[in-house]
Chain length 399, copies 2
């Protein structure tokens, strides 16, 4: 990466995330709601938008166009991007590069998902399992732990949790503490699918999805959309948007390397090496470190992944993440606030929208506009979005 | 678009396009074959590749990663892009922008499709028809002509053909002349799915798919992959690739505008306005016009679309395309050679690969390396790739 130009998020928007089939809307309705909100937040007309990368996994080809047409039929380029659970951040990554390269001055990144109940865990549709991109991950998991009749993503992350417990002495209560924290945070988020607090004991006592993960430690199946308007420095200046602009200080996407598969470790197979590498690269580009970060939205698809990501981002040493969450270091009053929005576990996880909703939360936080969930004095935020298959995107935002 | 840096295609590769299920290969096998060929053609190691946009419609999420991993597990960003039949050129469009913006120096654009027999016509899987992005196009078609029990894309393009015949007096023989020309061209293309010549009378006498379109005027369902290595000027110089570099002189993607739907015309609904606009923008960026072009690979998914594209690109006036093909102006010895590869009709149409295979053919032509299908003295080439839903990409290549 050799780009020198800066890029800024000047507008964000999202729908409330909802249980599938609980609201009568099409994917283009939710996309229009989120996209219009982002444009209004930026104070930018749709006609200023030059390109639109769109993220989704479950709709048909060119669904992005159908969504964009609801905003305005202007004939601009639309790219439908699909990177499993990292799809939203992948759209943001394209938007950033169009702007940083000087190819475009104003790009709308849009993500949405209209899911089927129970779809999460099966990955996206299309193609059979044996030839699916994540089959290799499952192979490693099955070799270590065998298969059970539970959702496949819960199995592989659950087995990564068992491995972490065996290797480091991490406890079920520490894993449950992630769920309790994120559900507690979501109480203040009107956009969250759930807004109910639970004690660690309640999280532990909830229905087991795949041991040791209980239902309150797993992200639900969700519908929803989110969007971000990414612009150049000259666009910020020309339109006087300095008061709402948040800089994308550094961003990186990584995919699997030999490290993901060679060890036969489920921790490696679920993407911890990708997160580590993406974090390192994003910090390097930003000229910042984890010590500079105030607020984090990370990919807690399952509680174990929040713990793995603490370690991958250098928030603690290997095996120390269970103690870190128990210490209170990752909630209000602690060193970082992680997932103030409620995270995927409580806010919800509509695949194509998730990465952009993380960006929306951080923009609100860095503007001091997060209301009851505001992290006091937040200046630097980090978003972490990961998908099996795989891709990890880390984005460092600075106000 | 404000970019000033130049981008070059320095390597291309493709598999033979094949009837689905006729060869025992997975999508990653074909992707590896095409990707490796493109890298070898460029004389570039996989390790030099910084980003990989991947185009496909029918495989599961992150299939691009699975394909890229076969080339080398280096952890580089992968973007899975899906723009229906314009998917391959959409991947090329991302690669070009990464390079022209100076964000990357070496990008591999990769496209593949492993289709199911008879899949073409239904668009990509995922989502039901009523909410599919192309439903609006079908609505216009149905309002004019009703539905028949034939493949839906054949219906909409067939009805555009009927409209062209009614409006301009275009004849069935003129439409068949497109099929005859492209099948004749493919005789010299070992990568083509078919390599059999047919007289206009044989094309007319072939099985009717949707009146007036016969089977020899329709692209088949195909498996296959194609790839292109796109690099910066400094990369060309540093690696001494000047002898194989073909410049991307201009490129544009358009999506639908009001014009696509407002008239109620099937010709507009199948994308003629998108092609016109993309062509105009690409020529403007290249500083060239249709009079400068020697060789064209255009999206002849059905014979009518080749005629519509002649008009959209300014090769003739409105309604004159039937006469143009009959005159021999678009074959060897004529003003332009259109679809020397055999086009989609005879070379085949694996959705994600098609746009990149067009680029491959043009690179070979502009290097003077197209063997028995060489267009003498070709210096400027044009690729046109379009998908319902929709997107049209026009790329002007210059040697």
């Amino acid at each position: 990466m050799k780009s020198a130009m800066k890029s800024y998020v000047v507008g964000v928007g999202m729908t409330k995330f909802e249980k599938p089939e609980s609201r009568d809307w099409q994917y283009w309705d939710m996309a229009k709601e989120a996209g219009s909100a982002a444009l209004a937040d930026a104070g930018v007309d749709y006609d200023a938008v030059e390109q639109v990368p769109v993220g989704y996994c479950f709709q048909a080809s060119t669904a992005g166009q159908r969504a964009v047409y609801e905003l305005g039929l202007t004939g601009v380029p639309v790219y439908n991007v699909n990177n499993n659970c990292a799809t939203g951040a992948s759209a943001l990554m394209l938007a950033r590069q169009f702007v940083e390269g000087g190819v475009s001055d104003c790009v709308l990144a849009l993500g949405f998902e209209k899911m089927k109940r129970g779809a999460l865990g099966g990955g996206s549709d299309g193609g059979d399992f044996a030839t699916s991109p994540v089959a290799r991950h499952y192979g490693i998991m099955a070799a270590r732990h065998g298969f059970e009749m539970t959702p496949p993503t819960a199995q592989i992350f659950g087995n990564a949790a068992r491995e972490h417990m065996e290797r480091y002495g991490t406890t079920a209560a520490q894993l449950a503490a992630v769920g309790a924290k994120n559900h507690r945070h979501s109480v203040n988020n009107p956009n969250a699918q759930f807004q109910d607090p639970y004690a660690v004991e309640e999280v532990l006592a909830a229905k087991t999805i795949h041991r040791p993960l209980t239902k309150l430690q797993c992200s639900p199946t969700s519908d929803g959309a989110a969007a971000a308007v990414v612009v150049s420095e000259r666009f910020v200046e020309r339109h006087g948007l300095g008061d709402r602009a948040v800089e994308i200080a550094g961003q990186a996407m990584t995919t699997d390397t030999d490290e993901s598969f060679a060890s036969g470790s489920c921790i490696d197979a679920v993407g911890a090496p990708m997160s580590r590498s993406a974090g390192r690269q994003a910090f390097e580009r930003a000229g910042l470190g984890i010590e500079d970060v105030d607020v984090i939205e990370l990919h807690d698809c399952f509680s174990i992944n929040e713990l793995l990501t603490y370690e991958a981002l250098g928030m603690c040493g290997a095996g120390e993440s269970g103690k870190l969450v128990e210490s209170g270091a990752t909630t209000y009053g602690g060193r970082w606030v992680v997932n103030p929005s409620g995270g995927l576990i409580s806010k919800g996880h509509p695949l194509g929208a998730t990465g952009l909703a993380q960006a929306a939360e951080l923009v609100w936080q860095l503007r001091g506009a997060a209301g009851a969930r505001q992290v006091p004095g937040a200046r630097v935020g980090l978003a972490h979005n990961i998908g099996l298959g795989g891709a990890a995107v880390v984005t460092v935002l600075r106000r």
